[in-house]
Point group: C2
Protein backbone atom coordinates (compact mmCIF):
# COMPACT_ATOMS: atom_id res chain seq x y z
CA UNK A 1 0.00 0.00 0.00
CA UNK A 2 1.33 3.41 -0.92
CA UNK A 3 0.33 6.91 0.09
CA UNK A 4 1.17 9.86 -2.12
CA UNK A 5 0.45 13.28 -0.71
CA UNK A 6 -0.62 15.73 -3.43
CA UNK A 7 -1.62 18.65 -1.23
CA UNK A 8 -0.75 19.11 2.43
CA UNK A 9 -1.59 22.76 3.09
CA UNK A 10 -4.41 24.41 4.98
CA UNK A 11 -7.07 26.73 3.60
CA UNK A 12 -5.17 28.24 0.73
CA UNK A 13 -2.42 27.11 -1.62
CA UNK A 14 1.11 28.35 -0.97
CA UNK A 15 4.25 27.88 -3.04
CA UNK A 16 5.17 24.89 -0.87
CA UNK A 17 1.86 23.23 -0.11
CA UNK A 18 -1.19 22.82 -2.24
CA UNK A 19 -4.72 22.42 -0.92
CA UNK A 20 -5.76 18.94 0.24
CA UNK A 21 -5.46 15.74 -1.75
CA UNK A 22 -4.01 12.32 -1.00
CA UNK A 23 -3.70 9.40 -3.40
CA UNK A 24 -3.83 5.90 -1.93
CA UNK A 25 -2.67 2.91 -3.97
CA UNK A 26 -4.14 0.03 -2.03
CA UNK A 27 -2.66 -2.90 -3.88
CA UNK A 28 0.08 -3.03 -6.48
CA UNK A 29 -1.82 -5.78 -8.35
CA UNK A 30 -5.15 -4.08 -8.92
CA UNK A 31 -3.73 -0.75 -10.06
CA UNK A 32 -6.70 1.20 -8.76
CA UNK A 33 -6.11 4.39 -6.85
CA UNK A 34 -8.33 6.10 -4.32
CA UNK A 35 -8.19 9.84 -3.85
CA UNK A 36 -8.99 11.52 -0.54
CA UNK A 37 -10.10 15.13 -1.07
CA UNK A 38 -9.48 17.11 -4.22
CA UNK A 39 -8.45 20.71 -3.59
CA UNK A 40 -7.91 23.14 -6.47
CA UNK A 41 -5.01 22.13 -8.73
CA UNK A 42 -4.98 18.50 -7.63
CA UNK A 43 -4.89 17.63 -11.33
CA UNK A 44 -1.88 19.92 -11.68
CA UNK A 45 -0.11 18.07 -8.86
CA UNK A 46 -0.93 14.77 -10.58
CA UNK A 47 0.87 16.04 -13.72
CA UNK A 48 4.10 15.76 -11.72
CA UNK A 49 3.51 12.13 -10.71
CA UNK A 50 3.14 8.79 -12.49
CA UNK A 51 -0.54 8.63 -11.52
CA UNK A 52 -2.97 8.21 -14.40
CA UNK A 53 -6.25 9.98 -13.66
CA UNK A 54 -8.21 7.11 -15.22
CA UNK A 55 -6.76 4.77 -12.59
CA UNK A 56 -8.45 6.78 -9.86
CA UNK A 57 -11.80 5.04 -9.42
CA UNK A 58 -12.91 6.28 -6.02
CA UNK A 59 -12.79 9.74 -4.51
CA UNK A 60 -13.59 10.24 -0.84
CA UNK A 61 -14.35 13.81 0.21
CA UNK A 62 -14.06 14.66 3.90
CA UNK A 63 -15.98 17.95 3.79
CA UNK A 64 -17.14 20.70 1.49
CA UNK A 65 -14.66 23.48 2.26
CA UNK A 66 -13.15 24.87 -0.93
CA UNK A 67 -9.63 23.72 -0.14
CA UNK A 68 -10.93 20.14 -0.22
CA UNK A 69 -13.23 20.17 -3.26
CA UNK A 70 -12.48 23.00 -5.71
CA UNK A 71 -10.25 20.74 -7.81
CA UNK A 72 -12.97 18.18 -8.36
CA UNK A 73 -14.70 19.60 -11.48
CA UNK A 74 -11.40 20.11 -13.29
CA UNK A 75 -10.17 16.66 -12.32
CA UNK A 76 -13.38 15.05 -13.56
CA UNK A 77 -13.14 16.90 -16.85
CA UNK A 78 -9.49 16.00 -17.43
CA UNK A 79 -10.06 12.34 -16.46
CA UNK A 80 -12.45 12.28 -19.40
CA UNK A 81 -10.08 14.09 -21.80
CA UNK A 82 -7.39 11.58 -20.83
CA UNK A 83 -9.43 8.56 -21.82
CA UNK A 84 -11.05 7.55 -18.53
CA UNK A 85 -13.94 5.21 -19.31
CA UNK A 86 -14.48 3.30 -16.11
CA UNK A 87 -16.99 4.16 -13.43
CA UNK A 88 -15.85 6.69 -10.86
CA UNK A 89 -17.50 6.67 -7.45
CA UNK A 90 -17.49 9.80 -5.34
CA UNK A 91 -18.16 9.50 -1.60
CA UNK A 92 -18.89 12.68 0.28
CA UNK A 93 -21.23 14.76 2.40
CA UNK A 94 -24.73 15.74 1.42
CA UNK A 95 -24.71 18.53 -1.15
CA UNK A 96 -21.64 17.36 -3.04
CA UNK A 97 -23.51 15.51 -5.76
CA UNK A 98 -25.76 18.44 -6.57
CA UNK A 99 -22.83 20.84 -6.79
CA UNK A 100 -20.75 18.56 -9.00
CA UNK A 101 -23.68 17.92 -11.32
CA UNK A 102 -24.59 21.61 -11.54
CA UNK A 103 -20.97 22.57 -12.18
CA UNK A 104 -20.51 20.02 -14.97
CA UNK A 105 -23.80 21.13 -16.50
CA UNK A 106 -23.03 24.85 -16.32
CA UNK A 107 -19.60 24.35 -17.88
CA UNK A 108 -21.04 22.04 -20.54
CA UNK A 109 -18.65 19.29 -19.44
CA UNK A 110 -19.65 15.89 -20.77
CA UNK A 111 -17.54 13.13 -19.29
CA UNK A 112 -16.91 9.84 -21.06
CA UNK A 113 -17.54 7.69 -17.96
CA UNK A 114 -20.27 7.24 -15.38
CA UNK A 115 -20.10 8.90 -11.99
CA UNK A 116 -21.81 7.29 -9.00
CA UNK A 117 -22.32 9.30 -5.83
CA UNK A 118 -22.52 7.90 -2.32
CA UNK A 119 -23.76 10.29 0.35
CA UNK A 120 -21.62 9.56 3.37
CA UNK A 121 -23.11 8.95 6.78
CA UNK A 122 -21.64 7.34 9.87
CA UNK A 123 -21.02 3.65 9.26
CA UNK A 124 -19.70 1.43 6.48
CA UNK A 125 -19.45 3.38 3.23
CA UNK A 126 -17.75 0.71 1.12
CA UNK A 127 -17.05 -3.01 1.37
CA UNK A 128 -15.78 -5.63 -1.02
CA UNK A 129 -13.92 -8.92 -0.56
CA UNK A 130 -10.69 -7.14 0.28
CA UNK A 131 -11.51 -3.85 1.97
CA UNK A 132 -13.96 -2.18 4.25
CA UNK A 133 -14.21 1.59 4.65
CA UNK A 134 -15.95 3.12 7.62
CA UNK A 135 -16.77 6.78 8.19
CA UNK A 136 -17.48 8.78 11.31
CA UNK A 137 -18.20 12.48 11.74
CA UNK A 138 -15.44 14.63 13.18
CA UNK A 139 -15.69 18.02 14.89
CA UNK A 140 -15.09 20.83 12.43
CA UNK A 141 -16.98 24.06 11.70
CA UNK A 142 -19.03 22.21 9.09
CA UNK A 143 -19.95 18.54 8.66
CA UNK A 144 -16.70 16.65 8.17
CA UNK A 145 -15.84 12.95 8.05
CA UNK A 146 -12.90 10.74 8.84
CA UNK A 147 -12.39 7.47 6.98
CA UNK A 148 -10.91 4.19 8.19
CA UNK A 149 -9.79 1.70 5.54
CA UNK A 150 -9.36 -1.85 6.77
CA UNK A 151 -7.85 -4.51 4.60
CA UNK A 152 -9.53 -7.81 5.37
CA UNK A 153 -7.42 -10.68 6.64
CA UNK A 154 -5.62 -12.49 3.84
CA UNK A 155 -5.97 -16.28 3.49
CA UNK A 156 -3.05 -18.25 4.88
CA UNK A 157 -0.56 -19.89 2.55
CA UNK A 158 -0.75 -23.59 1.60
CA UNK A 159 1.94 -25.65 3.33
CA UNK A 160 2.45 -27.85 0.30
CA UNK A 161 5.09 -30.18 1.73
CA UNK A 162 2.89 -30.97 4.70
CA UNK A 163 -0.12 -31.68 2.46
CA UNK A 164 1.86 -34.10 0.29
CA UNK A 165 3.20 -35.77 3.40
CA UNK A 166 -0.42 -36.38 4.46
CA UNK A 167 -1.06 -38.08 1.11
CA UNK A 168 -2.79 -35.29 -0.83
CA UNK A 169 -2.06 -35.80 -4.55
CA UNK A 170 -0.87 -32.85 -6.67
CA UNK A 171 -3.85 -31.31 -8.44
CA UNK A 172 -7.18 -29.64 -7.65
CA UNK A 173 -7.49 -30.96 -4.08
CA UNK A 174 -4.57 -28.75 -3.07
CA UNK A 175 -6.47 -25.74 -4.36
CA UNK A 176 -9.52 -26.68 -2.32
CA UNK A 177 -7.46 -27.00 0.84
CA UNK A 178 -5.85 -23.62 0.15
CA UNK A 179 -9.14 -21.74 0.02
CA UNK A 180 -10.49 -23.36 3.21
CA UNK A 181 -12.21 -26.64 2.27
CA UNK A 182 -11.52 -29.87 4.18
CA UNK A 183 -11.14 -32.90 1.86
CA UNK A 184 -11.46 -36.69 1.98
CA UNK A 185 -8.75 -38.72 0.27
CA UNK A 186 -9.33 -41.95 -1.71
CA UNK A 187 -8.23 -43.97 1.32
CA UNK A 188 -11.02 -42.35 3.35
CA UNK A 189 -8.74 -40.21 5.51
CA UNK A 190 -9.74 -36.61 6.07
CA UNK A 191 -7.35 -33.67 5.66
CA UNK A 192 -8.41 -30.40 7.28
CA UNK A 193 -7.61 -27.14 5.54
CA UNK A 194 -6.28 -25.63 8.74
CA UNK A 195 -3.77 -28.54 9.06
CA UNK A 196 -2.08 -27.60 5.79
CA UNK A 197 -2.38 -23.79 5.68
CA UNK A 198 -0.64 -21.08 7.65
CA UNK A 199 -2.72 -18.69 9.72
CA UNK A 200 -4.72 -15.85 8.21
CA UNK A 201 -2.55 -12.79 7.67
CA UNK A 202 -3.93 -9.63 9.16
CA UNK A 203 -4.49 -6.80 6.71
CA UNK A 204 -3.44 -3.19 7.27
CA UNK A 205 -5.59 -0.36 8.59
CA UNK A 206 -5.13 3.25 7.54
CA UNK A 207 -7.16 6.11 8.99
CA UNK A 208 -7.52 9.31 6.98
CA UNK A 209 -9.12 12.14 8.89
CA UNK A 210 -10.56 15.37 7.55
CA UNK A 211 -10.29 18.72 9.30
CA UNK A 212 -11.14 18.40 12.99
CA UNK A 213 -10.65 19.55 16.51
CA UNK A 214 -9.24 17.00 18.92
CA UNK A 215 -12.21 14.63 19.22
CA UNK A 216 -13.18 11.17 20.38
CA UNK A 217 -14.36 9.93 16.98
CA UNK A 218 -10.87 10.54 15.66
CA UNK A 219 -9.58 8.22 18.35
CA UNK A 220 -12.23 5.61 17.54
CA UNK A 221 -11.38 5.71 13.82
CA UNK A 222 -7.67 5.49 14.61
CA UNK A 223 -8.02 2.55 17.07
CA UNK A 224 -5.02 0.24 16.56
CA UNK A 225 -4.59 1.59 13.03
CA UNK A 226 -1.26 1.06 11.33
CA UNK A 227 -1.22 4.58 9.97
CA UNK A 228 -3.20 7.62 11.10
CA UNK A 229 -3.25 10.75 8.97
CA UNK A 230 -4.39 13.65 11.15
CA UNK A 231 -4.56 17.35 10.47
CA UNK A 232 -2.23 19.66 12.38
CA UNK A 233 -3.13 23.18 11.34
CA UNK A 234 -1.76 24.67 14.57
CA UNK A 235 1.01 23.95 17.06
CA UNK A 236 0.89 23.65 20.81
CA UNK A 237 1.46 27.37 21.42
CA UNK A 238 -1.77 28.21 19.58
CA UNK A 239 -3.91 25.42 21.00
CA UNK A 240 -6.79 27.76 21.90
CA UNK A 241 -6.97 29.14 18.37
CA UNK A 242 -7.06 25.59 17.01
CA UNK A 243 -10.22 24.62 18.86
CA UNK A 244 -11.81 27.96 18.03
CA UNK A 245 -11.32 27.41 14.30
CA UNK A 246 -12.31 23.74 14.40
CA UNK A 247 -8.75 22.53 13.90
CA UNK A 248 -6.16 20.51 15.80
CA UNK A 249 -2.53 20.97 16.83
CA UNK A 250 0.51 18.75 16.27
CA UNK A 251 0.35 17.56 19.89
CA UNK A 252 -3.38 16.87 19.78
CA UNK A 253 -2.86 14.73 16.68
CA UNK A 254 -0.10 12.89 18.55
CA UNK A 255 -2.43 12.38 21.49
CA UNK A 256 -5.07 10.86 19.20
CA UNK A 257 -2.50 8.41 17.80
CA UNK A 258 -1.29 7.57 21.28
CA UNK A 259 -4.73 7.05 22.84
CA UNK A 260 -5.75 4.94 19.84
CA UNK A 261 -2.67 2.73 20.12
CA UNK A 262 -1.90 3.46 16.50
CA UNK A 263 1.42 2.47 14.99
CA UNK A 264 2.34 5.52 12.89
CA UNK A 265 1.10 9.09 12.64
CA UNK A 266 1.44 11.43 9.67
CA UNK A 267 0.71 15.11 10.32
CA UNK A 268 -1.12 16.77 7.45
CA UNK A 269 -2.96 20.05 6.58
CA UNK A 270 -0.06 22.23 7.73
CA UNK A 271 -0.63 25.98 7.83
CA UNK A 272 1.51 28.24 5.65
CA UNK A 273 2.20 30.15 8.87
CA UNK A 274 4.89 27.56 9.61
CA UNK A 275 8.11 28.16 7.72
CA UNK A 276 10.33 25.25 6.75
CA UNK A 277 12.58 25.92 9.72
CA UNK A 278 9.59 25.84 12.07
CA UNK A 279 8.78 22.29 11.06
CA UNK A 280 11.70 20.72 12.93
CA UNK A 281 10.45 21.83 16.38
CA UNK A 282 6.87 21.30 15.13
CA UNK A 283 7.62 17.63 14.46
CA UNK A 284 9.69 17.20 17.62
CA UNK A 285 6.86 18.54 19.76
CA UNK A 286 4.54 15.86 18.35
CA UNK A 287 7.16 13.11 18.63
CA UNK A 288 7.56 13.80 22.34
CA UNK A 289 3.97 12.65 22.68
CA UNK A 290 4.03 9.98 19.97
CA UNK A 291 7.48 9.01 18.63
CA UNK A 292 6.42 7.40 15.33
CA UNK A 293 5.33 10.69 13.79
CA UNK A 294 6.04 12.07 10.31
CA UNK A 295 5.09 15.34 8.60
CA UNK A 296 3.43 15.06 5.19
CA UNK A 297 4.88 17.17 2.40
CA UNK A 298 3.55 17.70 -1.11
CA UNK A 299 4.65 14.87 -3.37
CA UNK A 300 6.14 12.72 -0.60
CA UNK A 301 5.28 9.05 -0.82
CA UNK A 302 5.08 6.44 1.89
CA UNK A 303 4.95 2.69 1.52
CA UNK A 304 3.51 0.19 3.99
CA UNK A 305 5.75 -2.85 3.76
CA UNK A 306 6.42 -5.68 6.24
CA UNK A 307 4.37 -3.94 8.91
CA UNK A 308 6.43 -0.79 8.72
CA UNK A 309 6.00 2.65 7.20
CA UNK A 310 8.76 3.65 4.79
CA UNK A 311 9.17 7.11 3.33
CA UNK A 312 10.09 6.72 -0.34
Amino acid sequence: MQLQFLGTGAGMPSKDRNTSALAVKLLEECGSIWLFDCGEATQHQILHTTIKPRKIDKIFITHLHGDHIFGLPGFLSSRSFLGGEELLTIYGPKGLQQWVEQTLKLSNTHVTYSIAFVEVEEGIVFEDSQFIVRAMPLEHVIECFGYRIEQKALPGELLIDKAIQLGVPKGPLLGKLKVGYDITLDDGSIVLSKEVTSELKEGFTVTILGDTKFCSNAITLAEKADIVIHEATFDHSTIELAAQYGHATNTEAAKVAQLANAKYLILNHISARFLKSDLIPFLKEAQEQFPNTFIANDQTQYEWRQHQLHEL
Copy 2:
Protein backbone atom coordinates in the same frame (compact mmCIF):
# COMPACT_ATOMS: atom_id res chain seq x y z
CA MET B 1 -0.48 49.23 -19.84
CA GLN B 2 0.84 45.78 -19.07
CA LEU B 3 -0.41 42.32 -19.94
CA GLN B 4 0.63 39.35 -17.85
CA PHE B 5 -0.39 35.95 -19.16
CA LEU B 6 -1.17 33.55 -16.32
CA GLY B 7 -2.55 30.66 -18.34
CA THR B 8 -2.19 30.16 -22.09
CA GLY B 9 -3.25 26.54 -22.61
CA ALA B 10 -6.35 24.99 -24.12
CA GLY B 11 -8.86 22.76 -22.40
CA MET B 12 -6.64 21.19 -19.80
CA PRO B 13 -3.57 22.22 -17.84
CA SER B 14 -0.21 20.87 -18.94
CA LYS B 15 3.19 21.23 -17.29
CA ASP B 16 3.91 24.19 -19.58
CA ARG B 17 0.60 25.97 -19.91
CA ASN B 18 -2.15 26.47 -17.39
CA THR B 19 -5.80 27.00 -18.24
CA SER B 20 -6.85 30.50 -19.26
CA ALA B 21 -6.19 33.69 -17.34
CA LEU B 22 -4.74 37.05 -18.29
CA ALA B 23 -4.02 39.96 -15.95
CA VAL B 24 -4.23 43.47 -17.41
CA LYS B 25 -2.71 46.40 -15.56
CA LEU B 26 -4.33 49.33 -17.29
CA LEU B 27 -2.53 52.21 -15.66
CA GLU B 28 0.50 52.25 -13.45
CA GLU B 29 -1.02 55.07 -11.36
CA CYS B 30 -4.28 53.47 -10.35
CA GLY B 31 -2.83 50.10 -9.39
CA SER B 32 -6.01 48.26 -10.26
CA ILE B 33 -5.79 45.05 -12.23
CA TRP B 34 -8.38 43.42 -14.44
CA LEU B 35 -8.43 39.68 -14.91
CA PHE B 36 -9.71 38.02 -18.08
CA ASP B 37 -10.87 34.45 -17.39
CA CYS B 38 -9.90 32.45 -14.36
CA GLY B 39 -9.09 28.82 -15.10
CA GLU B 40 -8.24 26.37 -12.33
CA ALA B 41 -5.04 27.28 -10.45
CA THR B 42 -5.04 30.90 -11.56
CA GLN B 43 -4.43 31.79 -7.90
CA HIS B 44 -1.48 29.38 -7.95
CA GLN B 45 -0.04 31.17 -10.98
CA ILE B 46 -0.51 34.48 -9.18
CA LEU B 47 1.64 33.17 -6.30
CA HIS B 48 4.58 33.34 -8.71
CA THR B 49 3.99 36.99 -9.64
CA THR B 50 3.97 40.33 -7.84
CA ILE B 51 0.20 40.61 -8.33
CA LYS B 52 -1.79 41.10 -5.14
CA PRO B 53 -5.22 39.44 -5.44
CA ARG B 54 -6.86 42.36 -3.64
CA LYS B 55 -5.68 44.67 -6.45
CA ILE B 56 -7.80 42.73 -8.93
CA ASP B 57 -11.10 44.59 -8.93
CA LYS B 58 -12.70 43.39 -12.15
CA ILE B 59 -12.88 39.93 -13.65
CA PHE B 60 -14.18 39.46 -17.17
CA ILE B 61 -15.20 35.92 -18.10
CA THR B 62 -15.43 35.08 -21.79
CA HIS B 63 -17.44 31.84 -21.44
CA LEU B 64 -18.36 29.13 -18.98
CA HIS B 65 -16.10 26.27 -20.05
CA GLY B 66 -14.23 24.82 -17.11
CA ASP B 67 -10.80 25.86 -18.34
CA HIS B 68 -11.96 29.49 -18.12
CA ILE B 69 -13.85 29.52 -14.78
CA PHE B 70 -12.87 26.67 -12.45
CA GLY B 71 -10.31 28.83 -10.68
CA LEU B 72 -12.85 31.49 -9.78
CA PRO B 73 -14.19 30.11 -6.45
CA GLY B 74 -10.70 29.49 -5.09
CA PHE B 75 -9.50 32.91 -6.23
CA LEU B 76 -12.47 34.62 -4.58
CA SER B 77 -11.86 32.75 -1.35
CA SER B 78 -8.14 33.54 -1.26
CA ARG B 79 -8.70 37.21 -2.15
CA SER B 80 -10.68 37.34 1.07
CA PHE B 81 -8.09 35.43 3.15
CA LEU B 82 -5.46 37.85 1.83
CA GLY B 83 -7.27 40.93 3.06
CA GLY B 84 -9.26 41.99 0.01
CA GLU B 85 -11.93 44.43 1.17
CA GLU B 86 -12.81 46.39 -1.94
CA LEU B 87 -15.68 45.63 -4.26
CA LEU B 88 -14.98 43.07 -6.95
CA THR B 89 -17.07 43.16 -10.12
CA ILE B 90 -17.44 40.02 -12.21
CA TYR B 91 -18.58 40.36 -15.82
CA GLY B 92 -19.66 37.20 -17.56
CA PRO B 93 -22.34 35.21 -19.37
CA LYS B 94 -25.71 34.34 -17.91
CA GLY B 95 -25.45 31.54 -15.36
CA LEU B 96 -22.12 32.60 -13.90
CA GLN B 97 -23.55 34.52 -10.96
CA GLN B 98 -25.77 31.65 -9.86
CA TRP B 99 -22.91 29.15 -10.02
CA VAL B 100 -20.48 31.38 -8.12
CA GLU B 101 -23.06 32.10 -5.43
CA GLN B 102 -24.04 28.43 -5.07
CA THR B 103 -20.40 27.37 -4.92
CA LEU B 104 -19.52 29.90 -2.23
CA LYS B 105 -22.60 28.89 -0.27
CA LEU B 106 -21.97 25.15 -0.54
CA SER B 107 -18.35 25.54 0.55
CA ASN B 108 -19.35 27.89 3.36
CA THR B 109 -17.04 30.54 1.95
CA HIS B 110 -17.74 33.99 3.41
CA VAL B 111 -15.75 36.66 1.65
CA THR B 112 -14.79 39.92 3.31
CA TYR B 113 -15.76 42.09 0.32
CA SER B 114 -18.79 42.64 -1.89
CA ILE B 115 -19.11 40.99 -5.26
CA ALA B 116 -21.15 42.65 -8.02
CA PHE B 117 -22.15 40.68 -11.08
CA VAL B 118 -22.76 42.09 -14.54
CA GLU B 119 -24.42 39.75 -17.02
CA VAL B 120 -22.68 40.42 -20.29
CA GLU B 121 -24.58 41.09 -23.49
CA GLU B 122 -23.48 42.65 -26.73
CA GLY B 123 -22.66 46.32 -26.21
CA ILE B 124 -20.91 48.49 -23.65
CA VAL B 125 -20.31 46.53 -20.46
CA PHE B 126 -18.25 49.13 -18.62
CA GLU B 127 -17.47 52.82 -18.96
CA ASP B 128 -15.80 55.41 -16.77
CA SER B 129 -13.91 58.63 -17.49
CA GLN B 130 -10.88 56.73 -18.72
CA PHE B 131 -12.02 53.47 -20.30
CA ILE B 132 -14.80 51.90 -22.23
CA VAL B 133 -15.23 48.14 -22.58
CA ARG B 134 -17.40 46.66 -25.30
CA ALA B 135 -18.42 43.04 -25.71
CA MET B 136 -19.60 41.07 -28.72
CA PRO B 137 -20.50 37.40 -29.04
CA LEU B 138 -18.02 35.17 -30.82
CA GLU B 139 -18.61 31.80 -32.47
CA HIS B 140 -17.79 28.96 -30.12
CA VAL B 141 -19.66 25.79 -29.13
CA ILE B 142 -21.29 27.70 -26.27
CA GLU B 143 -22.02 31.40 -25.74
CA CYS B 144 -18.68 33.18 -25.68
CA PHE B 145 -17.68 36.85 -25.67
CA GLY B 146 -14.82 38.95 -26.85
CA TYR B 147 -13.93 42.21 -25.11
CA ARG B 148 -12.52 45.43 -26.50
CA ILE B 149 -10.98 47.87 -24.04
CA GLU B 150 -10.60 51.41 -25.33
CA GLN B 151 -8.72 54.01 -23.40
CA LYS B 152 -10.36 57.38 -23.94
CA ALA B 153 -8.33 60.17 -25.52
CA LEU B 154 -6.11 61.92 -23.02
CA PRO B 155 -6.27 65.72 -22.69
CA GLY B 156 -3.44 67.54 -24.43
CA GLU B 157 -0.67 69.11 -22.41
CA LEU B 158 -0.59 72.82 -21.51
CA LEU B 159 2.00 74.73 -23.58
CA ILE B 160 2.88 76.95 -20.65
CA ASP B 161 5.49 79.14 -22.38
CA LYS B 162 3.06 79.96 -25.15
CA ALA B 163 0.31 80.84 -22.66
CA ILE B 164 2.60 83.23 -20.76
CA GLN B 165 3.73 84.78 -24.03
CA LEU B 166 0.05 85.53 -24.75
CA GLY B 167 -0.17 87.29 -21.40
CA VAL B 168 -1.84 84.66 -19.24
CA PRO B 169 -0.73 85.21 -15.63
CA LYS B 170 0.53 82.29 -13.56
CA GLY B 171 -2.35 80.90 -11.49
CA PRO B 172 -5.81 79.38 -11.87
CA LEU B 173 -6.38 80.65 -15.44
CA LEU B 174 -3.67 78.26 -16.66
CA GLY B 175 -5.60 75.37 -15.11
CA LYS B 176 -8.79 76.42 -16.90
CA LEU B 177 -7.01 76.57 -20.23
CA LYS B 178 -5.52 73.13 -19.61
CA VAL B 179 -8.87 71.43 -19.12
CA GLY B 180 -10.43 73.03 -22.20
CA TYR B 181 -11.90 76.41 -21.21
CA ASP B 182 -11.25 79.56 -23.24
CA ILE B 183 -10.50 82.62 -21.07
CA THR B 184 -10.65 86.43 -21.27
CA LEU B 185 -7.70 88.38 -19.91
CA ASP B 186 -7.93 91.69 -17.98
CA ASP B 187 -7.06 93.61 -21.16
CA GLY B 188 -10.08 92.02 -22.89
CA SER B 189 -8.14 89.74 -25.18
CA ILE B 190 -9.34 86.16 -25.52
CA VAL B 191 -7.05 83.12 -25.23
CA LEU B 192 -8.41 79.88 -26.67
CA SER B 193 -7.62 76.63 -24.92
CA LYS B 194 -6.66 74.98 -28.20
CA GLU B 195 -4.06 77.73 -28.81
CA VAL B 196 -2.12 76.80 -25.69
CA THR B 197 -2.58 73.02 -25.43
CA SER B 198 -1.20 70.21 -27.51
CA GLU B 199 -3.62 67.92 -29.31
CA LEU B 200 -5.60 65.18 -27.51
CA LYS B 201 -3.53 62.05 -27.19
CA GLU B 202 -5.24 58.94 -28.47
CA GLY B 203 -5.57 56.15 -25.94
CA PHE B 204 -4.75 52.54 -26.60
CA THR B 205 -7.14 49.79 -27.62
CA VAL B 206 -6.67 46.18 -26.63
CA THR B 207 -8.97 43.39 -27.79
CA ILE B 208 -9.18 40.22 -25.73
CA LEU B 209 -11.11 37.44 -27.41
CA GLY B 210 -12.46 34.25 -25.88
CA ASP B 211 -12.54 30.89 -27.64
CA THR B 212 -13.86 31.27 -31.17
CA LYS B 213 -13.88 30.10 -34.74
CA PHE B 214 -12.71 32.61 -37.33
CA CYS B 215 -15.62 35.07 -37.24
CA SER B 216 -16.60 38.56 -38.27
CA ASN B 217 -17.30 39.83 -34.75
CA ALA B 218 -13.69 39.08 -33.88
CA ILE B 219 -12.67 41.39 -36.73
CA THR B 220 -15.10 44.08 -35.60
CA LEU B 221 -13.79 43.93 -32.03
CA ALA B 222 -10.21 44.04 -33.31
CA GLU B 223 -10.78 46.98 -35.70
CA LYS B 224 -7.64 49.17 -35.59
CA ALA B 225 -6.80 47.81 -32.15
CA ASP B 226 -3.26 48.24 -30.91
CA ILE B 227 -3.17 44.71 -29.54
CA VAL B 228 -5.38 41.76 -30.38
CA ILE B 229 -5.26 38.62 -28.26
CA HIS B 230 -6.77 35.78 -30.26
CA GLU B 231 -6.98 32.07 -29.56
CA ALA B 232 -4.99 29.70 -31.76
CA THR B 233 -5.87 26.20 -30.60
CA PHE B 234 -4.99 24.69 -33.96
CA ASP B 235 -2.56 25.30 -36.80
CA HIS B 236 -3.15 25.62 -40.51
CA SER B 237 -2.80 21.87 -41.18
CA THR B 238 -5.79 21.15 -38.93
CA ILE B 239 -8.00 24.01 -40.05
CA GLU B 240 -11.06 21.76 -40.56
CA LEU B 241 -10.81 20.39 -37.03
CA ALA B 242 -10.58 23.93 -35.69
CA ALA B 243 -13.93 25.01 -37.10
CA GLN B 244 -15.53 21.72 -36.06
CA TYR B 245 -14.53 22.26 -32.42
CA GLY B 246 -15.39 25.96 -32.42
CA HIS B 247 -11.76 27.03 -32.40
CA ALA B 248 -9.37 28.97 -34.63
CA THR B 249 -5.93 28.41 -36.12
CA ASN B 250 -2.78 30.52 -35.98
CA THR B 251 -3.37 31.71 -39.55
CA GLU B 252 -7.02 32.54 -38.94
CA ALA B 253 -6.02 34.63 -35.95
CA ALA B 254 -3.48 36.39 -38.18
CA LYS B 255 -6.16 36.99 -40.78
CA VAL B 256 -8.41 38.59 -38.17
CA ALA B 257 -5.61 40.94 -37.13
CA GLN B 258 -4.83 41.75 -40.75
CA LEU B 259 -8.42 42.39 -41.83
CA ALA B 260 -8.97 44.51 -38.73
CA ASN B 261 -5.88 46.63 -39.44
CA ALA B 262 -4.65 45.89 -35.95
CA LYS B 263 -1.14 46.75 -34.87
CA TYR B 264 -0.05 43.68 -32.90
CA LEU B 265 -1.38 40.16 -32.48
CA ILE B 266 -0.74 37.79 -29.57
CA LEU B 267 -1.67 34.14 -30.12
CA ASN B 268 -3.16 32.53 -27.01
CA HIS B 269 -4.96 29.32 -25.91
CA ILE B 270 -2.33 27.04 -27.43
CA SER B 271 -3.03 23.31 -27.44
CA ALA B 272 -0.70 20.98 -25.55
CA ARG B 273 -0.50 19.06 -28.83
CA PHE B 274 2.14 21.56 -29.92
CA LEU B 275 5.56 20.85 -28.46
CA LYS B 276 7.98 23.66 -27.79
CA SER B 277 9.82 22.95 -31.03
CA ASP B 278 6.54 23.12 -32.98
CA LEU B 279 5.99 26.69 -31.89
CA ILE B 280 8.68 28.17 -34.12
CA PRO B 281 6.94 27.11 -37.37
CA PHE B 282 3.59 27.75 -35.67
CA LEU B 283 4.54 31.39 -35.12
CA LYS B 284 6.20 31.74 -38.51
CA GLU B 285 3.06 30.52 -40.27
CA ALA B 286 1.05 33.27 -38.58
CA GLN B 287 3.71 35.94 -39.21
CA GLU B 288 3.59 35.25 -42.94
CA GLN B 289 0.02 36.51 -42.80
CA PHE B 290 0.53 39.16 -40.12
CA PRO B 291 4.15 40.02 -39.27
CA ASN B 292 3.60 41.67 -35.86
CA THR B 293 2.60 38.41 -34.18
CA PHE B 294 3.71 37.00 -30.82
CA ILE B 295 2.88 33.76 -28.99
CA ALA B 296 1.72 34.08 -25.39
CA ASN B 297 3.45 31.92 -22.82
CA ASP B 298 2.58 31.43 -19.16
CA GLN B 299 4.07 34.22 -17.07
CA THR B 300 5.24 36.32 -20.01
CA GLN B 301 4.55 40.01 -19.68
CA TYR B 302 4.07 42.62 -22.36
CA GLU B 303 4.13 46.37 -21.99
CA TRP B 304 2.45 48.93 -24.22
CA ARG B 305 4.82 51.88 -24.31
CA GLN B 306 5.26 54.69 -26.87
CA HIS B 307 2.82 53.04 -29.25
CA GLN B 308 4.77 49.80 -29.32
CA LEU B 309 4.41 46.39 -27.74
CA HIS B 310 7.43 45.29 -25.72
CA GLU B 311 7.91 41.83 -24.31
CA LEU B 312 9.33 42.19 -20.81
